[in-house]
Structure formats: C-alpha cells, structure tokens
C-alpha cells in the first residue's frame, strides 16, 4: 500500500530515464536527505566525527571498489594503497598550492590515483580472477613501500607521517586541521559523497557501465559483441581508483587528521572488500549498507558488550569484536551471498505486494 508504482505513468522519456522513477523512492530519498542534514544538529560531536564522517568516506571507497569488482568483475586487493595515493597527492597538492580550496584539491587528487590505477590495471588485460588479485597485491605493497621510502611524499617529515595542515575555505570556515568543527567536516564529506555517488550512478547505468557489466559477465562474449576490453577494463580501473583516491584524501583530511603509511595497509583493503561483499556486489546502495555494517559493528560491540553486563578489558573486547566480525561475515555469506542489497530489494518486493502474500 505504501510502496506501489501502479498508476504512475511516465509520459516523457526524461521521466522514464530518471534515477528514481518511482514517486515513493523519491520521497524516501528526500527523507534520507533531510535526516542526513538534520543529524549534525542533534548528534554529538563524537557521533559525527567517529561514526558518520568515516562511514560516508568508507562508503565512497566501497563504491570505488564495487565499480571494479562488482560491476567490472576485476578482483582487487589494492584498495588501501589507491586510497593512500589520493591522500598523499592531496597532501602534496595542498603543500604546493596552499591557497586553493581543499575540496577542489581533494577532487583533483583522485586523478593521480586514477592514473596509478590505470597503470596497475594494465595486467588485467591478460590476467584474470585470483591471479589478478595478486597483481593488485603487488600494487598494494609497492605503493605502501613508496609511502615509506620516498620522503618527498611526506615533506621530509622526521616522523614519516603526514600531518594535515589547517585549511580554510568558503570565506573563513576552517575545513581541515585539528581545530575544524566536526559539523563542517561532516557537511563537506556529505556534499562530496552525494555528488560523486550521483555521478557514479549515472555512469553505471549508462553506456560505460553496461560495458563493464558485459565484461564482468563474460569477457570473451563481450569482446565479440564489440566491447573493447582495453577501454572497458581500464576505464573501470580509472573510475574505481579515482573514487578510492578521493575517499583516501578525505579519510586523512576530514577524519584522521594525520596518518602514517600503515593507515593504508592491506587491512584497509580487506575492510573495504568486506564492505563490498557484504553490501552486495554490483550495488551502490549496498556499498552504503556494507560500510555501515563493517564500520559500525565493532563500535557497537565495543560499546554494547560492557553495557549488557559483560565487563571485560578493552583489549579483550577488541579481540571478541574481531571474532564476531569474522563469524558474522561467514554467517552473512551463508545466509545471503548476494549481500545486504539483496535483502533490501527483497524487502521492497514484500512491501510492494503488502498486505497480500504475492501480487
């Protein structure tokens, strides 16, 4: 009753091709948008800074990996390093051009990441599946090594870490640095993530996105039908790395504030991969679900276990959280291998025919 598209006739092609063709979806998105804007005014700084901002950033990174793995079918374990490329190039850019608005620099730094991604994507033209995962591991460890061994990247800082300098924009608003308000950072991240996600949504439902999916489903057949594997695969690597790079730059500039090379280790790559798999391969909304789940679960466990009377040390809670995450990943893979996005669409189906069992 609440969610039913019957009776909504589309009379123009524009209406037919809209991102959200169903009225209820538009209303739902508007409500989510309002909530996203209202959150900073009711939530604490901790909630914004430790949960919402990183959640949005990681969701963007998950979308990036989803483009590559979910849409184009190329397994990658180098997401963390590509995020690192974005972070380090943004750091260098803001060192060289301190007066340019940091948001513009964040968006530009993704381009560097995209370039590196294309280079490491070249082997994908010959190598497939698990074998490709190893070449992306090469990217992961090689780039990580670069972050440590090339002092120019971190401005010859003796600690080897990058410290985010204070940057202002939009008049005199402090955007980055230790004294930036969590609310400002949240809104910046929200804006970037929304804009980029909309752009990606349009890419994946357009010509390029359909080519990626053809390559994923069967590359030889796609090639025979006139899809160029070179452009399709490399564009997937480029877009994916661009998104990861932007996410990585924001991760440092709007969340961590300072980073050592170990921030972009293989652990991060795995974390993002989990988000994509649990959220659902080939689903943008799934990337958000996955990010919320993987990022939120340990926080909930850490806060929740002591709250329900299981009083144990902080370290033990951390170990148990790792254990539970692992077990839950296996559980979800068994119960729903297509991820949370599939549960979401099943729920929508149910809602559509409600109150009848089928429609």
């Amino acid at each position: 009753m609440l969610y039913r598209e019957s009776g909504q006739y589309k009379t123009t092609y524009i209406a037919d091709q809209a991102i959200f063709p169903i009225r209820e979806d538009r209303i739902g998105m508007a409500i989510i948008g309002l909530i996203a804007i209202a959150i900073p005014f009711v939530a604490s700084d901790f909630f914004l800074n430790a949960i919402m901002t990183p959640f949005l950033i990681l969701a963007l990174a998950a979308i990036g990996l989803n483009i590559l793995t979910g849409y184009a079918g190329q397994l990658s374990l180098g997401t963390g390093a590509f995020m690192g490329v974005g972070a380090y190039s943004c750091y260098k850019l803001t060192t060289i051009f301190p007066d340019v608005n940091i948001i513009i620099l964040v968006l530009i730094s993704g381009l560097f990441s995209a370039g590196i991604g294309v280079i490491f994507g070249l082997p994908s033209l010959r190598i497939k599946g698990l074998y490709l995962a190893v070449t992306t591991l090469a990217a992961q460890f090689f780039l990580e090594w670069c972050f440590i061994r090339i002092p120019w990247l971190y401005n010859y800082n003796p600690s080897g870490a990058i410290e985010v300098p204070e940057r202002r924009g939009f008049g005199d608003l402090i955007l980055t640095g230790p004294s930036a308000a969590p609310m400002t950072q949240y809104f910046v991240v929200l804006g970037v993530v929304v804009v980029v996600t909309l752009a990606v949504k349009n890419i994946v439902r357009g010509r390029i996105g359909r080519q990626w999916m053809m390559i994923r489903d069967m590359d030889i057949a796609a090639e025979l039908m006139g899809v160029r594997p070179l452009t399709a695969k490399l564009s997937a690597f480029a877009v994916s790395s661009y998104l990861c790079g932007v996410a990585g730059a924001m991760f440092i500039f709007f969340y961590l504030g300072a980073a050592e090379p170990s921030a972009f280790s293989i652990t991060l790559s795995f974390q993002i991969l989990f988000m994509v798999i649990l959220g659902g391969l080939g689903s943008l909304v799934g990337s958000f679900f996955g990010a919320a789940f993987i990022w939120g679960l340990p926080i909930v466990l850490r806060a929740g276990l002591p709250a329900i009377g299981i009083d144990i040390g902080a370290e033990t809670v951390f170990h148990i959280a790792t254990m539970v995450v692992g077990a839950l990943i296996i559980f979800f893979l068994i119960v729903e291998p297509h991820g949370l996005a599939r549960l979401w669409s099943l729920g929508k189906e149910k809602l559509r025919v409600w109150p009848f069992p089928y429609g």
Binding site: I127, A138, W145, R149, A321, M323, G326
Partner: protein, 319 residues
C-alpha cells in the same frame, strides 16, 4: 651510464668477489623459500580438493604455533602438546567443513574466498582472545629440534654458516612433500581426493563423500600449517605478523600454478631466493626494503608471459 652500471654490472661483481657471502644469501633465500613453499603447499591441498582459495592458511600457521606454545606454557609436556595440537587442528578442520564449507558448497569462487577471509578474522580474534596478542617463543629444544649451527670454510677464509634448524626445516619439508605425494598417489583416500579435485559431481556419483574428503583435506592443511608454524616459529617468534608473510604464498602459487604440489615447492624456492638476492644486491639502489613487494612484482611479470603458472593446467576458455 653510471646508473645502468650499478644495476647491470655491480651486483654481479659483488657476487663473484664475495662468493661466501653470496652462498650465504642463497642459503637464506633457500630456507625462506622452503617456508613459503610449505605455506603454499597448504593452499594447494585445499585448492585442489575444493576449489577454495584458502586465505586462512596463514592464520592457521599462527594458530597452530600458538596452540602448541600455549599448551606447553600451561604445563603440558612438549610431545603431548604436539599431539594435542594435532587434535585441535583436526577439530578445526571438522568445524570449518561443517560450518563454513558445507553451507557454502557451489557458491561462486569469490564468495568462498571471502568466507576464508572471514575465517581469518575469526581465528585472529579467537587466537588473541585465548593466547593474548604478544609474540611467543617457539619451544624448539623441548621438541627435540636441533639448535646449533655449523660453519663451512669456503675459498680463502670465507665462511658459510648453516643453522641446524634451517637444515631440519628443509629436510622435514622434503619428507612432508614425499609423504603427501605417496598419500595422494597410493592410498584410497588420496585417490578419492584427486577424484574430487577433478570433478565434484562425478566423484559424488561414484560414492565419494565430499564432506569427508573436505574435512580430511583441511586436516592435512592443518598439519602442514603446524609444521610451518614450528619451523617458522623456531626462526623468529610465533606472532600474528606471520599472517602478512603468508600472503607471500600468493606469488609462489602464481609461479607454481594453483594445483601443483611440485609447483608450490619450485615457486617457493624461486620467490625465496629471488627476493633475498634482489634485496641484498639491488635493494640498496632504491633505498632497501624491497623484499615487501619484490615477490609480487616477480609474479606479476611472470604472469604476463605465462598466465597459468609453471606447472598449472592450461587455461582454456570457451564462450
């Protein structure tokens, strides 16, 4: 020109000038290669029988080592602890088969891969929860493994030092490969394993129990993991850092092919030796530390020319 000279000529001059040092490097690389090969062996066993790329092999190594040391710390005699650890690995194999593999049968490769990464997380958390996160000393002497070292003189005054534990590791690895080869080729279960590896459905239809075979294969991988854990633990500590080293098994597998036991051995040796030589002779040119990625680069370049690995089955694609 100087730069080219330092890449193409100088390292070889160094090798010839100090042959004892070169041999030492070779030996170090060889031992590291044996251990990579052992980890890769665990991967191959499971991949052959179930098509699952078992990411958890690395953490199984750590887990087996920790269990052994942890039991000994609790006061269990070393050999009894060894037997008990084998029992624990058996239980683990049964649990993995029952709770992970069986429900996930026939899922796409990437889902199975993810489930083993989930298993990795679970075992990391479980291991840290039970045994604590700090590195532990392997009980080398209590297990009767040799500890000393022998020095050989080479040429005029050069020294080659071989640790006894390394020799033992190489010998044990060799025995293990031999036993596995006999097991695969001569025993009833071994033949069943190969049948399952060839074709799940055909194996099922001639009355081979997939569940049983998978439990056995995970148990075998557990034993290999335990051996690796002891050997590696004796060289350094038993710690969770080993997990990253286990990722090195991936390029080894790439070189050797995912389904070949001899491939795992040869690939392990190539990676181990190549990486040590690269690190010692070419590493200083770019600031050192290239060990962390050299193996992957070697595998990457190799793959471009031979996508199925040295001994892997040829990939035939049909539309």
């Amino acid at each position: 020109m100087d730069f080219l000279h330092s890449i193409l000529v100088d390292p070889f001059v160094q090798m010839v000038e100090l042959p004892d040092f070169f041999l030492q490097v070779l030996w170090e690389g060889f031992v590291a290669g044996v251990l990579y090969a052992l980890i890769a062996l665990g991967f191959v066993l499971i991949f052959k029988a179930s098509g699952v790329f078992n990411f958890a092999q690395g953490i199984m190594v750590v887990f087996a080592g920790l269990t052994l040391v942890g039991l000994h710390e609790k006061g269990v005699p070393a050999y009894l602890a060894l037997v008990l650890t084998i029992g624990v690995m058996g239980l683990l194999a049964l649990a993995v088969e029952r709770f992970v593999m069986r429900p996930l049968v026939n899922q796409p490769d990437i889902i199975l891969l993810m489930s083993t990464i989930g298993l990795t997380y679970f075992l990391v958390g479980f291991g840290e929860f039970v045994f604590g996160g700090e590195p532990k000393q392997m009980i080398t002497e209590e297990l009767g493994l040799p500890t000393g070292s022998t020095a050989f003189e080479i040429g005029d005054g050069g020294l080659l030092i071989l640790q006894h534990i390394d020799i033992a590791a190489a010998v044990i690895a060799l025995i293990m490969v031999g036993v596995l080869a006999v097991f695969f080729n001569k025993t009833r279960i071994g033949r069943a394993l190969r049948a399952v590896a060839d074709d799940h459905q055909a194996a099922l239809s001639v009355g081979i129990s997939l569940n049983q075979i998978w439990a056995i294969v995970w148990f075998a991988a557990g034993i290999v993991a335990l051996t690796t854990g002891i050997m590696w633990g004796a060289r350094s500590d038993v710690s969770f850092a080993l997990e990253i080293i286990a990722l090195k098994a991936l390029p080894v597998l790439i070189l050797g092919g995912f389904t070949s036991i001899p491939g795992a051995i040869v690939g392990g040796l190539i990676i181990g030796i190549g990486e040590k030589i690269g690190e010692i002779y070419w590493g200083p040119l770019v600031g050192g530390g290239i060990e962390s990625w050299l193996a992957y680069m070697i595998a990457l370049i190799f793959l471009l020319f031979r996508p199925q690995g040295l001994f892997g089955e040829r990939i035939i694609e049909r539309v």
